[in-house]
């Protein structure tokens, strides 16, 4: 929020405006200062955007007289001094993003939109620059030129991992394959001071294998964002065998500050979402193989009957059938459950290079 004051009239404004509506004088921004809780209520009923009830809403007042409503995930009491700055903006992080694919772009866009700094590293400076241009183009649809310039000035690109040394946290988002991911993580870690947290955005690779050989595996964990990260609210915060509490706490707090809802999970195969999703996708394919219904009907039944926003076959097409098969094969190998063994129709489509939307053909045809 803003805390703007007219020195001439003494009027306070909660909105980012200028000049004073009464006298035309230029408004000045209040200094951030500690605030005292005037009143607080514990909210027990969840609502859209605030599903995390119970939480606490406090009316706070700073020494300068600025007031705000602040949400807490813990009890606070009247007269408590709270550190959250009344007039300042939310905390900003310097975040390292490694990779230049879809997830890396989405993460950079989401972070820059929210005012964080991004140090973007990848092997090819050319690909990074074109990825950065794509992000700028996306942001230009929701920001004016001044805002866009400010946001993009917070984004630096580099082909060298040593640029990541100034970050608070680095999120690795390179190709979803064990060997390149592992090598990249080790190369990043060598350049990081000991206080910088390191996270992988893997959706299913084993974290113990990814952290093998790290010098400080305690500061490493998983931050599994979902595509597109600008819109999907979940982050699976994954605890690897060596991850310490402080790392898990930081990753959860980071996820919350960037506007996500963290769910803590152990480093088991597929975490929660893919572990639950893959048998569903596989079963939808089996229903199609068995002639229970056509693809459109299966998707419509699941959408309307289970209240999913998208049917499983359309979702598989969106994820990419090769990616789906690879995740299923990995989960099948590690869990040993036939529910995860990709169905013959899925394997056949991949063999025909019908991989879903990206090849314009999968369970559906795309124009």
């Amino acid at each position: 929020m803003s805390d703007l004051m007219c020195v001439a009239c003494g009027v306070r404004y909660a909105y980012d405006i200028d000049p004073c509506t009464f006298c035309g004088a230029s408004l000045t921004e209040g200094e951030p200062s500690p605030a005292i809780v005037l009143a607080v209520t514990r909210v027990d009923t969840p609502s859209t955007g605030h599903e995390d009830a119970p939480y606490w809403c406090a009316l706070v007042k700073s020494a300068q007289g600025a007031q705000a409503i602040i949400k807490f995930d813990r009890p606070v009491e009247v007269d408590d001094e709270v550190s959250t700055s009344v007039s300042g903006t939310v905390r900003t992080y310097v975040v390292g993003i490694v990779g230049s694919g879809v997830m890396a772009r989405g993460l950079s866009e989401m972070l820059l939109f929210r005012g964080h700094r991004v140090v973007w590293v990848g092997r090819s400076i050319g690909r990074l620059e074109s990825a950065r241009d794509m992000v700028a183009d996306r942001l230009s649809r929701v920001m004016d030129e001044t805002e866009l310039d400010a946001a993009m000035s917070h984004c630096s690109v580099s082909p060298s991992f040593d640029a990541l040394a100034t970050c608070d946290v680095v999120v690795e988002a390179v190709i979803e394959e064990l060997i390149p991911k592992h090598e990249t993580l080790l190369a990043i870690e060598r350049e990081l001071p000991s206080h910088v947290y390191l996270a992988t955005n893997t959706s299913s690779l084993p974290l113990d294998a990814l952290s093998d050989g790290m010098s400080i595996p305690e500061r490493f964990g998983g931050l599994h964002f979902f595509n597109p990260p600008t819109r999907m609210r979940l982050v699976e915060v994954v605890r690897a065998p060596a991850t310490v509490d402080a790392t898990e706490e930081f990753l959860c707090e980071f996820a919350q500050v960037v506007g996500k809802v963290p769910v803590r999970v152990a480093a088991g195969p597929g975490f929660v979402v893919n572990r639950v999703l893959m048998p569903l996708l596989n079963e939808a394919v089996r229903a199609l193989e068995d002639g229970i219904a056509d693809a459109e009907s299966i998707d419509e039944a699941v959408r309307l009957g289970l209240n999913h926003p998208m049917g499983p076959l359309a979702l598989a097409d969106l994820i990419g059938l090769d990616v789906v098969v690879s995740i299923m094969q990995d989960l099948h190998a590690r869990l040993g459950d036939e529910a995860y063994a990709p169905r013959p129709m899925l394997l056949a489509l991949v063999a025909e290079r019908r991989l879903g939307r990206k090849t314009r053909s999968g369970f559906y045809e795309y124009a």
């Binding site: 005037l38 209520t41 949400k71």
Partner: protein, 380 residues
């Protein structure tokens, strides 16, 4: 004299399967019949509504309402001022009387559509998107903060809140159009209610209702059943508690009350009954103080004394209020005037206040961002 209420109509407030047009029609038809006028006599209309867009995907409500009288093409528009939409619409209609006469005012709302979490969010749109909504300050949470401040400053207790709730539920049992007409509420029910936003529990909160209410107004009375509008005032304040120095009173309400009393040439001591905006029990106590019916901090004692009950010296919310009568948001402010008109005419049946001459209605939007106060008087 600002004008006269020629006729009023109201649906039951409460869950309904009827769409907004049918709800509005029921209230309009009743108000026209009550006024003795035909729809073709009406020269303009104002529709009060809050959440037609988010809840029902329906905006452009003036044109929807025009579909209730096809071919009778007259000026009409929608007023939105959160929960004060109805009172503000009535004020606006009165201000228009020099140009159009008579004017129809109809408030309509449907709240039973969206699931709970979505509805809570939508109602939260009455708060500032950045200052309040971002912090999860739901509507009950806003009033919970007011309650906390009031308790701290004046020693008000949850037992005082319970007294408001019990009184209004008692009154609603005598109002066939009330949301909780069929429900008896005891102290044990209140004690068993879950906390919504501390210290407010379930029975401190009004229900969300579907419903409509309508009134026909004119500069000229039509016979003895017309009720005079002696005062009509609206005041608008900043939207968030975070923008206000005072949290135990709503300056917009006390300002609007002062202006309405000035117009009417009466003081709070001459008011015989009040219909106030008790969206939460604490809100009734704040309303009583803002209207000057009790000094700041003394509404709880006034309530505990029985003075605000039916048969007391200043009955408050004889209808059951929002708390038990129901809160069909856009219709609420018009519904309050419906109650005053019926009471002032002596037509309120079982819940009739003993020969009231002057009644006041108090309709609040958000957590005091808007307030409309009307003072109505029996002729003669």
């Amino acid at each position: 004299m600002l004008g006269y209420v020629l006729g009023v109509g109201k649906t039951r407030f409460g869950p309904s399967s009827h769409a907004m047009p049918r709800l509005a029609h029921e209230a309009i038809w009743a108000a026209l019949a009550d006024s003795g006028l035909a729809i073709t006599d009406i020269k303009a209309f104002v529709v009060a509504n809050f959440l037609g867009g988010p809840n029902e995907s329906q905006l452009h409500l003036n044109s929807v309402v025009a579909g209730l009288f096809p071919g009778h093409r007259i000026p009409g528009w929608r007023v939105e001022a959160a929960c004060a939409s109805g009172g503000v619409a009535l004020h606006q209609a009165l201000a228009m009387l020099g140009t159009y006469d008579p004017v129809l005012v109809v408030g309509v709302e449907r709240l039973s559509g969206p699931p709970g979490g979505v509805l809570t969010h939508n109602i939260g749109m009455a708060g500032d998107v950045g200052l309040d909504q971002a912090a999860g300050l739901t509507f009950p949470a806003s009033y919970a903060l007011v309650a906390q401040r009031h308790m701290e400053r004046y020693g008000t207790t949850t037992a005082d809140f319970d007294a408001v709730s019990l009184k209004n539920h008692h009154n609603a049992r005598m109002n066939p159009l009330a949301h909780f007409h069929h429900k008896t509420v005891t102290q044990a029910d209140i004690d068993a209610g879950p906390t919504v936003a501390a210290p407010l529990r379930l029975f401190d909160c009004c229900p969300v209702s579907d419903g409509a209410a309508a009134a026909v107004i004119s500069a000229c009375p039509r016979g003895v059943r017309s009720i005079a509008v002696l005062g009509s005032a609206v005041s608008t304040d900043v939207i968030s508690l975070a923008q206000r120095a005072e949290h135990t009173t709503f300056p917009a309400a006390s300002d609007a009350a002062a202006e309405a009393y000035r117009q009417a040439g009466v003081g709070p001591g001459e008011v015989d009954m009040a219909e106030v905006h008790d969206c939460f029990t604490i809100a009734e106590l704040v309303a009583i103080e803002d209207l000057g019916l009790a000094k700041p901090g003394e509404a709880a004692a006034l309530t505990q004394s029985g003075a605000t009950a039916l048969g007391g010296s200043i009955p408050v919310n004889a209808s059951g209020g929002l708390k038990a009568g129901g809160h069909a948001i856009g219709a609420t402010g018009v519904g309050q005037v419906y109650e005053l008109v019926r009471q002032l005419r002596g037509e309120a049946g079982e819940r009739q206040v003993a020969s009231p001459r002057i009644g006041v209605s108090h309709n609040v939007g958000g957590v005091g961002g808007t307030c409309a106060v009307h003072i109505l008087g029996r002729r003669s």
